[in-house]
Amino acid sequence: MSTSRKVTPVATTTLTPQARALRSTVVTKAVMAVSGLIMVLFLIAHMYGNLLVFGGPVMFNEYAAHLRTIGEPMIPYSGVLWVLRVVLLISVVAHVASVVKLWRRKVGATGTGKRYLSSKRKATGNQMTYSAFTMRWGGITLLAYVIFHLLHLTWKVVNPGGAHEPYDRVVNSFQQWWMVLIYLIAMILLGLHLRHGIWSALTTLGANTSAVARRRLNLAAIALAVVLVVGFLLPPFSILLGLVK
């Protein structure tokens, strides 16, 4: 055997097996899973808030204002919102940091060049879902979308119609076809990301215990992804079609 490749038959670190395991790919995956599921919970609440646009301007604007006054006077203005923002920011950072670590491992294990030369090899493999195939690049695109979304409706940098009240800004925005198109593309990517992500997160955390569980987890992931995508797309399309003014 050649000796050019470094072979490490025994552990060379001074960490205990438990401490090493806490840095392992499995625990990193668990961090990605938990941070992802926190974001899914946020998405469910976010979708609920969006759907209030069908209740008219008063209901929608009061909901937006009330988000900032939860717990007053015991909790300062926007207090709960800021706690949620910090939790979400930590989740996003943890999610991305885990991806970077695991992506590097993938490249280390399979190399950067073409792994198999056969042109008969299918890019999406034997049974990989299209969602699984788009996880990494789809995720990066979603991150770019989230920044755009914040520029649009949180920081008001992108503000078609120039209104101030939340309801008017949402309606003015989605009367623009190109804005609806951006959101449509982003939501399709979100749906794909959630379809594999929810299944993968629950599996990583140990829920895939049998063939029946595998089918149920996949169905749950598909159902939740569809509900969220449809729920998020209802307001923009209703506005574009003039059902909500």
């Binding site: 055997m1 050649s2 050019s4 490749r5 490490t8 038959p9 552990a11 097996p17 438990q18 090493r20 395991a21 806490l22 392992s24 790919t25 499995v26 625990v27 990193t28 995956k29 668990a30 695991l102 491992r105 993938k106 280390g108 294990a109 399979t110 190399g111 792994r115 198999y116 030369l117 056969s118 042109s119 008969k120 090899r121 299918k122 493999g125 034997n126 049974q127 990989m128 879902t129 699984a132 996880m135 594999h196 299944w199 993968s200 599996t203 990583t204 955390l205 140990g206 829920a207 895939n208 215990t209 049998s210 063939a211 569980a213 595998r214």
Partner: protein
């Protein structure tokens, strides 16, 4: 039947390799894929050329030695080992690409042979139980539920061929590692070392440079023994439990 083979040729480890083309005629469709390579090697030898190096041993699908990436798929088009793949799975006149397993922890030694001792080190790290020597224990002394016995047996059928790694887009050996953790973790004999096994085997898996699992199931699609993806979820549960224990 007649086929054209494009085979990865690499004289030794760390040497530059390339695909080389060979035409074979007069083959029987009942030949196994390895028998076809034997025919090619006899011809190459008689011509004074270097035969194609490939691994094989039992040739009945139970040892895990043979393993080739055929047309970009680990073990080729049918879900079995390469030795159990027959030419009837191909058509007359086919061009067939033959490459070795590709993963950093599986360096190519020559042509189609890769070094899989990284798997041995993962097993050495924790894929065992400790038992006293002496006469065989009484068979009914440790009752095992039928469902556990079946699941443990299914996991134990892993032959360590490495197709899971070759097929995994992340180059992960989680299915292999999880099969052993599941096999021993489901049985009473495996309980004393259950926590340390999960920790040590996953640590060694990572140490060898294998990638992480992303639960997409390419491994199970090519596994000649049909090891299910659930084994990886079991491994995750054991590992997360063992890694977060506070009682040592």
């Amino acid at each position: 039947m007649k086929v054209t083979l494009n085979i990865w040729r690499q004289p030794k480890r760390d040497a530059q390799g390339k695909m080389e083309s060979y035409e074979l005629d007069g083959l029987s469709e009942h030949m196994s894929f390895l028998e076809m390579l034997d025919v090619l090697n006899e011809r190459l030898t008689s011509e004074g050329r270097d035969p194609v190096a490939f691994d094989s041993d039992c040739r009945e699908g139970i040892c895990g030695m043979c393993g080739l990436v055929i047309n970009g798929e680990a073990h080729g088009p049918s879900p079995t080992t390469t030795c159990q793949l027959h030419l009837r799975s191909f058509s007359d006149g086919d061009v067939i690409d033959v490459e070795p397993w590709r993963a950093e922890p599986f360096p190519v030694l020559k042509d189609l042979i890769v070094d899989r001792t990284s798997f041995d080190r993962i097993i050495q790290a924790g894929g065992y139980i400790s038992a006293n020597t002496g006469s065989a224990p009484e068979a009914n002394a440790a009752p095992i539920a039928q469902a556990d016995a079946s699941d443990a047996f299914d996991a134990a059928t892993c032959i360590g061929c490495g197709a899971c790694v070759a097929a995994c887009p992340n180059g992960s050996a989680m299915l292999f590692t999880a099969a052993k953790v599941t096999h021993l973790g489901l049985l009473p004999q495996g309980q004393p070392e259950r926590n340390s096994r999960a920790l040590d085997m996953v640590n060694q898996h990572d140490e060898e440079g294998f990638g992480n699992c992303t639960n997409i199931g390419e491994c199970t699609a090519v596994c000649p023994k049909g090891i299910p993806l659930e084994t990886i979820s079991r491994l995750n549960r054991d590992l997360l439990k063992a890694a977060t224990r506070t009682d040592g």
